[in-house]
Each structure stands twice: as structure tokens, then as C-alpha cells.
Amino acid sequence: MPATTLFEKVWEAHQVTPETEDTPAVLYIDLHLIHEVTSPQAFDELRKRGLKVRRPDKTVATMDHSTPTLPPDERGNWPFIDQLAAKQVKKLEDNCAEFGITLHALGGPHQGIVHVIGPELGLTQPGSTIVCGDSHTSTHGAFGALAHGIGTSEVGHVLATQCLLQRKPKTFAINVEGALQPGVGAKDLVLAVINKIGVGGGTGHVLEFRGEAIRALSMEARMTVCNMAIEAGARAGMIAPDETTFAYLKDREHAPKGEAWDKAVARWKTLRTDEGAVFDREVTIDASQVEPRITYGTNPEMSVGVSETVPQPNTRSDERALAYMGLEAGERMQGKKVDVVFIGSCTNSRIEDLREAAGVMHGRKVAENVRALIVPGSRSIKEQAEAEGLGDIFREAGAQWREPGCSMCIAMNGDQLQPGELAVSTSNRNFEGRQGTGGRTLLAGPATAAAAAVTGMITDARSLQGVEYATV
């Protein structure tokens, strides 16, 4: 047997028909996640052609993008931003009912961001193929799954045939050696990776994150890393499953049980890149050199260490980005006043992220100049955070502690920046207007965001966490 990579093992196990010169591979999909924004036109196509959903048992829906994060009124009506949003959500309900698909609806016990609830319910499993009409589907690669974001036409393909047409991507090893320093997290690491390989550096490739620093990460942290593989343009990001993965999945609702669990674990243990397997590309990063990072521009590649200054622009696009952000080359990031802090999104809305933020906010108040929104990734995370007392910490600090959803990451539901506002956000995209027309986004990890909330400015969170660190 030739030595193969983790990606190749999962790919080969799912080929219904291998690719030829003339046709792409037909790849079987184990789990299809859907949400309200990218599915309605796909269901229309099915209706138009008189087709059924081939495997409703492998299709799971939730609503997250257009949904309000303020609670319903006393009559149970949710405060949708407009009729279009309400109609889109209703359409998902109707489509799921018509085609027999399980839906985790607004207010339900498992509703939440699609990439948060999949893992939480144990639906996301090692070695499986997962797709969703959402680019951050790469998140699920943290479990050693091959997980792609797809467009609405492809949502239709998978609904109708449970298969996807794909050309085999190339492989790219991201070796992260050494250990992260205390006070430096997964978001800082992945921003450093994207800064190194570039916002288009992963195009055409599946990334495999590997090495000592990756092995040491929790599942929540691994999800943060794989979530942002798409921000380097990658087709997917993957991490080989290990004991950390199995411990996370054990006893989750949809995880195998009893004898089936033992068999599954034995199979999952084979999902690793063989010694001697060759990647198309490789880079190595020293984790010990990563400091808390923050973006300064209008794509996720444009980040610096929080103690650094805004770099000189190299291109017209860089100049445009700095002009949009209202930042000058050479300016220090620390001390810059901010208007809004957003802690949430499929990148950083899990329980560990909330604990990290609460650790910084505990006993402190949100600064007067700041509006702080904390949006849990799912209903169950909200409940767990309440049980752990994190909700109290956020409320006492004066932050808005909301209902689960995508919220201000994509700003479809009314949670948004006003023109000119500067936000520190734990989400994944700092594109122009991403969080609201004219809004300016600085991406960072939960601790940095929480530190900005309580100090009113960009701050090295380690100075509030009692962590010893060397300044650059």
C-alpha cells in the first residue's frame, strides 16, 4: 500500500465513480447540513423537476443567518429584521416539512449556527464527507472529516443524489511545531497561518493542520483553526482524529453507541497521514513565535501581533484597505479606541470561547464608549454558559448576552455596525461592509475582543489575564 494522506483516505473511501479526464469524481456525501439562506432555490429546482430528497436521513437543517438574536415577545413572535427574513425562515420550515428533513428550528433545544450544532450533536464524525451551502463548512474538518462549502446548485445536487461532482484537490500540510505561549489561542494561530500563506494561498488545496501544537489543541480550538481554512482560499481544512476527538464525541446524541462505538473508534484511528506520504505543498510554523493577533485591513491575511504597528502598504489594494479602515501605516494597534465588540460566530462562539471572554470580563465593566454583543453559537451553549455563571459575568459587565445565531458576523439579521464604527470581532471576515455598510472590522480571538470591550481600546489581553509575556 502506498503511503497516503488523511485527505486521500477519506476521498478514496467516498468515490462512487472516480474522476476521468472528461468527468469529475462522483463523491458520496455522508452529511448534508442546510440553512435558510442558500437552500430555497435548490428546493425550488427539486420541485420543478419533480425530484425527492434522496436521503432525508442524511440531511439536517437549522436556521441561523437571518434569525434574530433578541428573544421573542410574550406571544412568541420573534423580532425579525424584516418580512423577507421572516419569509426566508418560513420557507425553510415549509421545505423541511415537505421533503421530510429534520429541522432544528428557532427556539428549539438544538437550534444554533449550523457549524456549531453539527459537532455538538455528534453528527460530525471522523472520516465522513460533509457539505453545506456555507463556506465555513471547513469547520467540521477538525474531526478528520472532509468538509466543503458548496453553492446552491450543488445543494440541489446533493439533495437529489446525495453526491457531489468534484475534481481531486491538491494537498497542503501546515506543520505547526512547538507550543503556543500562555494567552495565545487558536484564533491567533490561524490568523498567523493565513498571514503566512496568504488569503488565496490555499486555493485548490485541502489543508492538513498537523504537528505538536495542533495535537495539543482542544476540539473547540481545532474547529476555530479549520473554520478559517477557507479564509486562505482552501477547499477544506483537516486535522487527524485522536483521543481528544474521541473524548469529545463519546456519548453525543448521534455518535455511535456500545459496540458500534468501539468499532468506529478502531476505524477512526486509521485516519491519519502515513509516514512518508507526500503533500503537494508544505509550510512550517513555530507556534511559540505567535502572539495574540489582530487584523488591520480588509481581508483576513492582513493581521499583525497586537503589540505591532500597521505595516506599510505594498499594493494599491493595500492602500485602499488602509484608507477604508482609517488606519495609517506605522500606527500602533494597541490603544486604538473601538466602538463595538462582537464575540460570536462559527469561528468563536463555543463554550471555551465564552469562558475565555468571561475570564477577561469577570469583575470588569464594558467601557462607556463600547457596545458589546456576545452571541452564543447554539441554544445548548447558551444554557451551559448560564449554568457555569458566564451569562451573569456578561450581564454584570454590561454586555448584551443574546440568543444563538450568526448575528453580526454576516449582519443579515439587523445586528450590525453603523457606518464608520470600528469593531473588534471574533468572527472570520473583515471584508469591507461585512458587518454592516461602512463598518470597520478588526478580527481577533475572544480574549482580545473581551479586553477591548472592558478597556474601550485595542489591548493585549494578557495584561488583564495575569499572564506573563515578553513584549515585541
Binding site: 473511501a13 468527468t23 458520496y28 453553492g151 486555493t203 449582519a411 443579515m412 461592509g433
Partner: protein, 192 residues
Amino acid sequence: MQPFKILRSRSVSMPSENIDTDQIIPARFLKVTDKKGLGEKAFYDWRYDKDGRPRTDFVLNTPRALGAGILVAGDNFGCGSSREHAPWALVDFGFRAVVSTSIADIFRNNALKNGLLPIVVDPQFHTRLLKGAGEELEINLWARTIKTEDCESREFEVEPFARYCLMNGMDQLDFLLGQDAQIQAYEQEYVV
């Protein structure tokens, strides 16, 4: 879908790099449940000021954009989200091809399913195309060539199956539906 064989059309250029899908179609316009009318919203925040008035300095608001079917854009065009609303909006605006030095994977996949041809060219030819904004280009999908008015031309790569579907106006779903026997066999052997 209309078959795509030869396209002769004027180009417009947007030299910015990393034009993301949030610029092509801002997220607040994704609350639709159909595909209609998205061209009006294409590049909305670059096209209109805060009062909804067209920005006269934006290329799509200039007379040379009228009837232009080819967009020549900076490197890594279409990065960001998987929203197929991006190619829907570009096609509805009137574009049939996008030319860049690289194009993001999901955007490219989505474009190919909507009669919008993504073309990657070398940086030198790209610079030439950006300079020639407004000229008529000829894109021949049979020959896989793109040619300027002064007959400088390049071959480009396009995934053979997507090319076949584009040239014949065929929907890729029909091919997948034709794989039913193979899918059934796979399910019987491997799928619980």
C-alpha cells in the same frame, strides 16, 4: 441554460485584488428566496453612496459598462463565501465571463453552473487586458482562447466536464441523476 461557445463583448476592469463575494453581493441582499433581480444589487456598496445615488467614479456606473459582458478583475477574485448569489448577480447584470490571475474555488464552481465563464490568465496578459478596458474581446470556448482587439491571444484552462456542459447548455445535475445505478451500488456496499 444558454449554450456558451463564442463570446464577443467589451470588457470592464476592476483591478482591485481579492474582490470578495461580500462586495459582489452584500449579505443583506441574500434574504431573497429566488434568483431574480440580483443584478441591481451587484457591487451595491461600491456602486451607490449612502443615499442610494450612483457613484460616478465607479466603473459599472460609467457608459463603458453598458453592454459589457466581460469583467477583468484583480487577483483572487470571488474569495469569501459560498453564496451563489454572487454569480447570479453578475449574470443578471450582464456578465458572461470573469478574467483574473486567480479565481476562488467555490466562486469558480458556482460560476460554471450559471453560464459565467471564469478564465485565469498569466499576469502579463492580465495587465494587458486591464489596460485595454473597454475593448472588445473574443472568448472562444471551443478553442479555449481569449483574444484582444489587436489579436494578442492566450489559451486558458477550463475543467473539461464544465466546458462540455457550458457548450451544450447542459445542467450538471442531469449527469449526476444518470449515475443512479452507481450511487445505489455504492450505498448498498458502504452506506448504513
